[in-house]
Structure formats: structure tokens, C-alpha cells
């Protein structure tokens, strides 16, 4: 695969210094910090969508990325597992460390990265296969397990995504027969079946009804024990309900980040306050 990632230290941006490969002065990535961004910028062709973002995301916590449409939060999420590789003209600079991996490095094994970083999409996208085959897709891909193990693993993943009792009698029926909320939990089961370290969620509830949303939110709170979760959401209540930390983006810049309680109740920045209180966006 052609590497689509090009490291471009931006000459105009002073904070892009972090992008220069000065490894000695870089702080060691501690295990508590699952994801660390320094001077991270991203473009689609000539259009810059993120400018010099510095952000730390702690392990085993839920981090919500919020901000108005077009602020770059989804782009950031899609760089964390290099899903932007499939988009023509997408590039980024700066550094993005994830559990010790240099995500932007052209030498990075993308397959390995994506096995370690699961992703749940805006609209549930189960494969047109049976429920079992959906969950078993990843493990089969990476040949992680034998046949009996596989059945156990599928059960475990479905239990972790709180779907097991609903589907245990119809594992070999099509996944497309499930409701939207069940499909989304199936996609979560599919993602955690490969035992990732990080789960990325791109507005996972935006296509769901309130009841399904509630069950997914509950699930997110449970999953945080095992995984580091980064969730993009447009729903302020959702961000405050499920996340431990919040990062607020506007016009491609990280405006404010901190504990969710603080960001919502005592924001330091005026723009954050306006946004979380619903005055714009």
C-alpha cells in the first residue's frame, strides 16, 4: 500500500516543532496516557481541518470529542486508526502516539494498528452475514483462535456488548434482522472480539432511538473498565453522561480539554461555555 501519510512540519506554526523527529527530547509515553497528540494537524487536499492539536487521552477512561460540525473531531478520530488512508488527499503532520505506536509513521503496520484500535461507526454497519459470522469476522481474519475457542469468544464478545441473551438462540440467522440498536451493539461486539486496546466511536447513537441510545450509553460506561474509549458526539447530554474527560474543538483547534464535570460546569473558555450551554453550534 502506498503510504498516504506525509509528515509536513508547518513553517507557519511554531507549535509544529513537536513534529520534527527529535526523539530524545520527547517524553516517554506512559501507560496511563493511551493516546498522545503533539502539534497534530490534518488536511484534506489544501483544506486544513485541524491545527496544532496537543491532547492527552488517558487509558481506561472515556474521552468525548465535542464541537460544532466541521470542527475536525471526526477527522481526528479517523486518524487514530488511519481510516483516512482510504480518502484521497488526506494527510497529517505532527505526532500521534497510541499505546507506544507512532500512528503517522509510514512504516506503521496499519493492519496491526486497526486490530488494536477498534471503531464503531455512525450508522450500524453489520455485514450481511449471520450474527455469529459478524462477531467471528475479526478473529478469523487474524487467525487468533481455534474453532471451539471461537465459539467461546463470540459468546464472550456478545455478553460484553450486552447482546447475548437477545441473540443466543439465533446466532446463525442474518444480522440484518436485528433492530438498529441491536445492530450497533453487534458492531461493538464485532470490534471487541479482536481484543483491541482502544475503541473509537463516531457518533454511535446518532441513528438510534432513545431507548437504544440508553443501552449503548450504559454499555460504554461498562466497557471503559477494559478499553480506552474515544467518542465523538453531537449530543451534549450524552457527552456529560458517558465521558470522563471532554475535549472541545472549534474551527480546527482544540479550545479546551479537561474533566467532563469541569468542562461542562466551569469551562475556562467563553466559547466552550457558549457551546455546551447551547448558545451556538
Amino acid at each position: 500500500m502506498m503510504p498516504t501519510v506525509i509528515q509536513i512540519p508547518s513553517p507557519v506554526d511554531p507549535s509544529a516543532e513537536g513534529a520534527t523527529p527529535d526523539r530524545a527530547s520527547e517524553p516517554a509515553v506512559s501507560m496511563a496516557k493511551a493516546i498522545q497528540l503533539r502539534g497534530f494537524s490534518a488536511w484534506y487536499s489544501a483544506h486544513q481541518v485541524l491545527s496544532a492539536v496537543d491532547l492527552d487521552i488517558a487509558a481506561n477512561r472515556v474521552c468525548a470529542l465535542i464541537g460544532p460540525s466541521g470542527c475536525g473531531k471526526s477527522t481526528l478520530l479517523r486518524w487514530m486508526n488511519r481510516m483516512n488512508d482510504t480518502i484521497l488527499g488526506a494527510r497529517a503532520s505532527g505526532s500521534l502516539h497510541l499505546h507506544g505506536l507512532q500512528v503517522l509513521s509510514p512504516d506503521l503496520d496499519v493492519v496491526d494498528l486497526r486490530r488494536r484500535v477498534g471503531m464503531v461507526f455512525q450508522k450500524p454497519n453489520p455485514f450481511p452475514k449471520s450474527i455469529f459470522d459478524n462477531v467471528a469476522f475479526g478473529p478469523r481474519l487474524h487467525r487468533q483462535y481455534g474453532r471451539t475457542d471461537l465459539e467461546e469468544l463470540v459468546e464472550q464478545s456478545l455478553r460484553s456488548s450486552a447482546l447475548w441473551t437477545e441473540v443466543k438462540d439465533r446466532l446463525h440467522r442474518s444480522a440484518l434482522g436485528l433492530s438498529g440498536g441491536q445492530q450497533q451493539r453487534l458492531c461493538i461486539a464485532r470490534a471487541i472480539a479482536v481484543d483491541p486496546e482502544v475503541l473509537l466511536m463516531d457518533e454511535p447513537c446518532s441513528a438510534l432511538d432513545p431507548r437504544s441510545t440508553a443501552s449503548i450509553e450504559e454499555l460504554i460506561r461498562e466497557l471503559r473498565e477494559t478499553y480506552t474509549i474515544v467518542i465523538v458526539t453531537h449530543n451534549m447530554q450524552q457527552a456529560s453522561r458517558v465521558s470522563d474527560t471532554t475535549a472541545f474543538f472549534d474551527e480546527g483547534r482544540l479550545i479546551e480539554t479537561g474533566e467532563t464535570d469541569e468542562v461542562f460546569t466551569a469551562p475556562r473558555e467563553r466559547r466552550t461555555e457558549d457551546y455546551v450551554s447551547g448558545r451556538f453550534g
Partner: protein
Amino acid sequence: MTAIAARAAAELAQRGRVRGVAFRRFYERLLHFGLLGLTLLSVLTTVAIIVVLVKESGGFFFMEGSEVTFVSFFTGTVWSPLLGAKPQYGVLPLVGGTVLVTSIAGLFALPIGLLTAVFLSEYASPRTRMLLKAILEVLAGIPTVVYGFFALTFITPYLLQPLSDRFGTYNAMGAGIAVGIMILPIVCSLSEDALRGVPQSLRDGAYALGSTKFDVTARVVVPAGLSGIVAAFLLALTRAIGETMIVALAAGGLAQLTANPAEQVQTMTAYMVQIFLGDAPANGIEYRSSYAVAMTLFAITFVMTWTGALVLKRYREEYE
């Protein structure tokens, strides 16, 4: 003054509107029945063809002095209507010839067509795709007589005969490959439509689990597009079965039951060409035999189309 003018104008407009509504209604009805009539035209044509086929092939089986029965026709292994003291009408050699040529065409075109479609849909850059599709369209526009010519003057002498001297000038292999080339664009463009119809979200889902491009294609995109691919295959095979000009030119004229692709064979369609080009007097038993053959061919393609539709329906139900 202005009030009067306004009232007059309103009155005129009102009258105009009433006439407009009546006219529109009439126009709509006219359009409706006109379109219905045109639709019925194609339905009537189909019915007329079936009636003629049934009537004429009935004439073949129940003709005075005819010794042909349904059993001897459908199970007979000798087809010699024009030669010999006693003509024999066993349709199996013709069916066998059609099956042999169609099988060769299918074995050639289905894998190549599907893999080309996979390349175009999943691997090629937009520019390459546009270029290759334009070339495929040219291929689709070539008259089939040219393919027949191509089989006779290129495929057989330059590709097949160097491999083995058992290939005659007319043989099933050359004709089969030419038919395969002819149906290649159908397989390819319909399969490509099926693959491109697979939502991008499914590809994203597979990539996000750590799939390589090959994994995404082989494990998600092709299985998800399978119903469309099967439909493409069936349509292409139906075209291959009905293909006439290529086999009339390149497959030979000897009706024999053989599985050897180096031999010459006669297909059902090629036999009909032979009869209607004047080898047999009208209304004789040979002449009518071609209607019986046509009926058989029609029955085969009908059953194939029907089975295909059934298979597709069942497959869809399973996944929705």
C-alpha cells in the same frame, strides 16, 4: 373602469382554467391508454411467439406419416434430419452441442469477467476504470458475426491448432471461447454494478477490523454482492445459449453427441439457421422440426431464468 376590467380578466381566467382542467384530464387519460397500448404490444408479441412455437412444433409431432414421438425426440441420440434413408430426430445431440459450447463460454467468461469486475470496482483508479470500461463497451458493440470470424480465422488456427492437431477447422472450443468473449462485457459490467452497489460502510467496517484490501474484497464485498453476481452470470449464460451467429460460423454443422471440445458440434440455434437458410422445403417435416427445437430452446432458457429468479429470491430472504 379598472374594476370592470379586473372582473372581465378574472372571468376570462376562470373560463381558461376550467377548459385547462378538462384538457389536462383528457390529455392524461390519452397518455395513460397510449402507454398501456404500447406495453400490451410487447406482451402480445410474446404471446404470439409462444402460440406459433407451440402450434408449429405440434405440427411436427402430429404430422401425418411422422414417426416422431415426444419420447423419441427428447431421448434420441441421433439427429440426422437431412441425410440417410430414414431421417432421425433425437434432439440430444443438438442440446449437447449447445451445452458444450455454453459450458466452454461460461468457464472462460465467468471467472475472467468476475475478476475483471473486482479489479475495476475495488482496485482500479477512477481513470483506469473509465478507460477500461470504454474498451469493454467497444467489445460489447462488436457484431457477433465478427466474433464467429475471429474464432475461425484466429482462435482456432493460431491458439488451438498449435496446441493439438486434433482441432478441426470447425470445433466447439473455438466457438465456445468466442461466445465467452462475447458475453464477457455482460458478466463484467453487471458484476461490477453489483460490487459497486455494496455500501462503502461495509468496506469501512471491514478495514476498521484490520482487513487488507484483499480481505475486504473476498470476505465482504464479493459475498455481499453475490446475488447481483449470480444474476449477471445467469443473464450472460442465457445469452450464450441463444447465441447463433458465432456457432453457425465456427462450431461446424455436424450434430453429434460429444464432450470433446476439439470436435465439431451443431447447436440448437445453428440447426435452425441451417433449416431457414433454405436447406429444407417449407412445411416439410425437417422444416417443422426446427420449431420443435426452438420450443426446446425456449423451454430451457425459460426454466433457467425462472430458477435464477427463485434462487435470487431465496438468497435475498436469507439476508434481510
